[in-house]
Point group: D2
Chain length 333, copies 4
């Protein structure tokens, strides 16, 4: 079969991650890269031998392009994904669809069934460890799932200018964990959030929190907690425990080597956990792309799809509302 | 120094635990055991060579008795501890002081400074692992404490008749975890609870939940989550993680041996974690008794004391209220 | 059933360990303690409320004594155990029976069937973890046992005066591991040893080694290695791996608490492993005594018995010969 | 700098591993592939867009080729590496140089200083975990190295036809571990080996062993054990412990995910360890190639080099001799 021809829109950090995945995927060809900044587009295009442009319409107009990865700044997502699907491409859109649920809903009404051509970049669903646990839960290995514990902490807070446009911890960072909660529990019924400002004055100044715990209840009565922090001394802390009637499945942190030290004052001391999201999630991005190529080729509805992106945003909004109102927020389900 | 003479009131399961601790403690002597059921009192007294009685006044009237451990049913706690401290004894009272905060407050007003002679049986504070983490947090090893994660699951639900008089999951089971949260965070400002009924029809019928997650915020802005379940397939799940600016300290589950198996379909498989609270917490009961003896001898205020028992009950009540009202409950602090 | 009346001969460190085990065993009574040094005998006897004497014949002449634990210096073992069994007592004899195989053989000829009344103090066979692995190997969980890896390191070298009379690393320290090897593999066919002097000048001056690795082959063709060191920075290193056709069973080191630390430069760092043989093996001594009491009551042959003590000494001698001759030593089997 | 142009000689399994590493290395270009079987050469060449040939002289005659990787059958190694270095190429030669030490020595005499242009394919030296431990030992983190424990077990025995030409377990399989021992200990003084036939009738019929333990002593008095088996139920078992005066550094087995399961009859059960040498050692092959490219560019002597290949073969021969003679073999040092 001929390679699936893919264009990457946006040549920043995450765009480069996707370009790299496409370049080494045997079923894909990196056809185009786009960035409004010529130097960025040229650099990434040159690196992988792909055509580059600062005019995205050239990509939408190229009938040989099968699929588009939207890795541009969040405010451009809806415009780009809309034009891409209307041009007959499938879309892999980085999260979030948009920070404003009203715009998301408008887009949804606008696109109708075409939303099924939009896959959302919730890469953690494709992490080999999380995916294995999800599959084993699905196979009934721990019986009915009853409790889910997610711990997710960044190594260090983002720059102040990023915080300002991020949409806040819930929409920017926790949205991944909220999607994971939905991945395991299905629809969520109740959300309760507490926040903290213990890490960064910049974040406080921006009116955001830098730590949070959120409690969730699924429509099946299952419970979940999510713990987030914008700083973690020992690296990028990414753990999950699924607990059920017959036992539990855990995802532990991961490290670059399997070395440990024992000496006078400690034993079994391993090194730092992965410090950087790419060290931890490169295999997830690879697997995500595989799923996107398959979806592009088969025409099946995207999963995770536009609806998953919308639902995670609703949860993030509910968490923010709970933080503001001191109430447990019940979602319409 | 002569042995501290101790009486144990109540010869049920927990009374026997205390009698056993006293019997093997080199600084203590088991002077009396009391139970209204003669056979129980006689059995425990006989086992340890202690005097036994069904008339508790004989103990309060015995000037040679230095200290009293109240291990009787919860509704009798206030009466017995009040009479004991008035009789000049120190008291180690099993949790909770009472299920009704109004009665606790009345007792508190009644006793005045004498409450300082009452130690509360929050044994987990004395568990070698939890105590080590608390001490190391106090020494600043992880910097400022920012987040606390407690997971506490019983192997199996209690009998229906126990559930009926237990006061509910928050006052009966989570109260230990709420006290641990205070042990680490100090005073608590906000409480939010979600509950579940996934384990036991008996518990549902009793109007109680059999699983819960609670989110807490301390007055210093620190966050905590507590996850409870009345059933755990792999044993008595008792874990804690204290996370701070400089790192984290974890308490893992414990097992009877350090054996693991690796074979065709799994590697590093250890056995069940301790199945029973005594297998897990016997060293904690021993250390708790040591602290009680020391407090009896020195006359210093008890720690954890009556106020800690009251504060934990207030948190349990707040959790129950949050569950009922769907609100984040703010405590007067 | 009335308690088994036990006398402890020798009130040094290991004698006190046994006296303590007897004192808290519900099936036993500490009837006598003996030591040629009156102060030692009096101290231990007084501590446990047992009769004490500097005249061991009073013990052998006491018909109420059922059993004797020989915990005196090695050169006295044969004399005491011989007189004890002739006096109708069962004997639990600390290892080794003697440092001289000729004397052991003479004793064996002398006692005939009475050797079955002598249990050898290879306490590690009763360690809950080692015993569990042995039982699971026996149950076929790893199929046919093929390879055994034993690592055994002391925290620090013994005093020079002890080294001088110890019989050397193989007879004094490795004899425990050689017995463990027999416990798992049965009879041993070949022994090969390499030694080192990297730890202690005193040990070198005494003509002994302070580190050694020994390779063994069992008559069934199974292979084993034993690694010993007289010094270990992180505590008392006691590990074992049994490897077979279907997998492996491992015994890991053990610690006082289940706490671990993660920070900027390390993760999952636990504390030191047990530093002292008693912290590690107290449960083993308790279980050993239980087996000794049962053997005393039932009259069944001791296990591990005199023959096991002799066989382990033969292996230690073979290891020493291999070290001296640079040959793989084959044992008569 | 322009890419280092590399030819891969041999298009079997290991040749493809190297071709893959070259293809994705940014500093390298896969210039040629050679195999006497046209289909193999064509397949691998085509896959990576490299020139292919069945006439190796075309490669030696191509002045644009900087470096050659010898991944052909062992009997061809000496001929190919000799011609390659005489043609001015650097060489990365798969282990062993040859199975016959006499031929190795003849080659060495023949090449003189040119041997410094030959790097030996002891890939484990480049494994991130082993390399980290070696570096930390070099930095003095565990003080003077005293004991080394290597466990290395294959998932399943090789085919009978491979066994027949393999040179035996010591030269074929353990040679990697013997090189690791030299990597850590430096020169080896004594070797003692025990062997077993518990796994495969084919291997026994070929006159080889399918399990072995080897004890080594370095010239500095350090001790090491190597345990090998041709079968391991739980995967490709690759572990190492370096023990010194100040502590130990361990390399644990590695797995595809960080998932573990806890249920009614086990806790903390992870999945199989990597099953296949490529899953375990792909990063090692990548890093090995990096070192080879650097050595090619700088002209520095290869490390590990020809002498390391020869020394490991001498150790393998010594182990075989020890097995045959039941003697501890002392090496000339």
């Amino acid at each position: 079969m001929s390679a699936t021809r893919i264009a990457v829109l946006g040549c920043g950090r995450i765009g480069r991650v996707h370009a790299d995945s496409v370049a080494i995927n045997e079923r894909a060809e990196l056809a185009w890269v786009f960035d409004p900044v010529e130097a960025a587009a040229k650099d990434v295009g040159g690196r992988y031998g792909a055509a580059w442009t600062t005019d995205v319409d050239r990509i939408f107009g190229d009938d040989l392009v099968d699929a588009v990865i939207v890795a541009s700044p969040t405010p451009t997502h809806i415009d780009l994904l809309t034009r891409a699907v209307r041009a007959g491409k499938t879309v892999l859109c980085e999260k979030p669809i948009d920070l404003d649920i009203a715009r998301v809903d408008a887009c949804r009404g606008d696109l109708g069934d075409l939303v099924e051509r939009v896959m959302l970049g919730f890469n953690r669903r494709f992490d080999p460890s999380f995916a294995e646990v999800r599959a084993r839960v699905g196979d009934g290995e721990i019986g009915a799932l009853e409790q889910l514990t997610i711990i997710s902490r960044d190594p260090a807070p983002p720059p102040a200018e990023y915080v300002a446009v991020s949409g806040g911890l819930f929409r920017d960072m926790m949205i991944h964990d909220l999607d994971l909660a939905r991945f395991f529990l299905g629809e969520i019924e109740s959300v309760s959030a507490l926040g903290a400002n213990l890490v960064s004055d910049d974040i406080r100044a921006a009116g955001d929190v830098d730590g949070a715990v959120v409690a969730l209840r699924g429509v099946g009565g299952q419970l979940a907690t999510i713990t987030n922090s914008r700083r973690c001394a020992y690296g990028y802390d990414q753990r999950l425990e699924a607990f059920g009637a017959l036992g539990a499945l855990d995802v532990a942190n991961q490290r670059a080597t399997s070395v440990s030290f024992s000496g006078v004052d400690r034993t079994g001391a391993a090194g730092r956990v992965h410090d950087f999201f790419l060290d931890r999630y490169t295999p997830a991005y690879r697997a995500e792309l595989d799923a996107f190529i398959t979806m592009t080729r088969t025409g099946e509805p995207a999963s995770p799809g536009f609806e998953d992106g919308r639902a995670a945003l609703l949860l993030a909004d509910a968490a923010a509302e709970s933080l503001r109102t001191d109430e447990v927020v019940r979602l319409a389900t």
